[in-house]
Amino acid sequence: MPPGLEQLQHIVVLMMENRSFDHMLGSLKAVNPQIDGVTPDLSNPDTNGNAVQAQPLAEFQAQLQPDPDHHFPAVDLQIFGGSTDPNRVANMQGFVKSYFNQQKDVAHSQKIMYYFAQNQLPVLTTLALQFAVFNRWFASIPGPTICNRAFAHYGTSFGRVDMNLIYLNEPFKSIYDRLIGATPKHTSKLYYYDTTSSTMEITNLLQNQPELFGTFPQFLDDCAKGNLTDYSFIEPNYNDHEGDSGEEVANDQHPDHNVQAGELFIAQVYNAIKSSPLWPNTALLIVYDEHGGIYDHVVPPACKPDQFTASANDTGTGMPFAFDRLGVRVPAILVSPWIPAGTVVNRVFDHASIPATITKFFLGDYSPRSPRETNADVFIEPNSGAVDPARNLLSLDVMRTDCPDFDV
């Protein structure tokens, strides 16, 4: 058994909001050509027919107003360029058109193509270069936040492609229920930032199992004391508010929230784990729930359909959706001192990979799980049985001592 897997006892997932891979990490193509980022030939047509290039002109705030549309019909336009032909081919040519629809302003619509320069995002780009960055991690659905986050908790959205999720008497348990109900019992916690930000998983989890939740200060304390649960899921601060210790700036990076605040938050999460006695035993996945309507150049692949189908009425496109295509690509980075610097992963993942990985790692075989989750790849190999070295990302024989530190 590779020592990194043998030592691994805790997995932490931090899920940020609404930014595409190219927007956040596209600049890294120039640093490491293996990273599938932005090249000068990438463009989208605007509504005048002019090609708008992807450019490193993204700003931390006040640029993407109004919030780019990322509901199902808009994402369909972004991916297919506006074609509704039954034999249409995805081409990622509809982003500018989609953003134009919101304000009818050609110049403003071009901003959807902007991405951050490497030096603007010192935290995310450093982690991507120093640990494992995923070239093919996609949102689970070409749609908005809630249904995509559901895939991270349940491995499915139970047929929903929108913001309405009620899962009563559904067959698939949350990853948290699976862990705490297992024999031997495992531990799990969701950390929201504070009660004023709360969680996006209200309907089933907060409402019925509030004991599963903790706050971000509790996460910091749990790291410091070496008390992390086996699996932790962290949610950022979703709104600007007055907290107990003063102004709390939203750090989820959802447009139009400040991107630097999110950088600071990611650094705090990383620092807490790195300075914890559990650093050798912990892996941290940083991932974004969906692309937020912002440009990415990689065509989302087809996937095994889920057992649910969203009706034509529900999708708003006039076509049903069988959950047989992934959403737009998002940034995803796996951090562990057992991962070689400069690791680039080309296998395909989506948020169903999160419960798939956690389940396989801690529980082994488990059913029932959704068809989407059952077919999702795992980003950490199970620590039992033979391990394929080509798939194991925690591959070093000796733990690194050269991992970066962030001054926050």
Binding site: E17, S198, M200, N258, A267
Partner: protein
Amino acid sequence: MLIQVPKPPKSAFDPNRPVSSLLVAQMEYLHEAEKRLPSRYHSQIYINAVKTEGEAAKYIRHVTEAIHEAHLEAAFARMRVVPKRKRAIELAAVADEQAEHKLATRTKKKSGGKKSASKHRRKE
């Protein structure tokens, strides 16, 4: 390798920012949850009138904390219903006493005196 992380400017904080569709959805979920709470936990906030992040934040905090409190209250009430367990403990104590009595009776039969057994019990 020590990386400096710039802080966002003061101007990044804007609780008067119009509420996003995500926060509206979050409030709607919380509103559904609020309806199931005992009425004493209700917020008296009309979410359709919430227009800014700051206003949304107040509602989100109220209902989130109410959910936690309502569950805690229920758990506390469950603990107070322990008489069944208390009764079980009492029954166990009675059973112990009976066993002790039997032992004492046996000892009495052997030694022929009640006094020694009761003395022994008092000492305990």
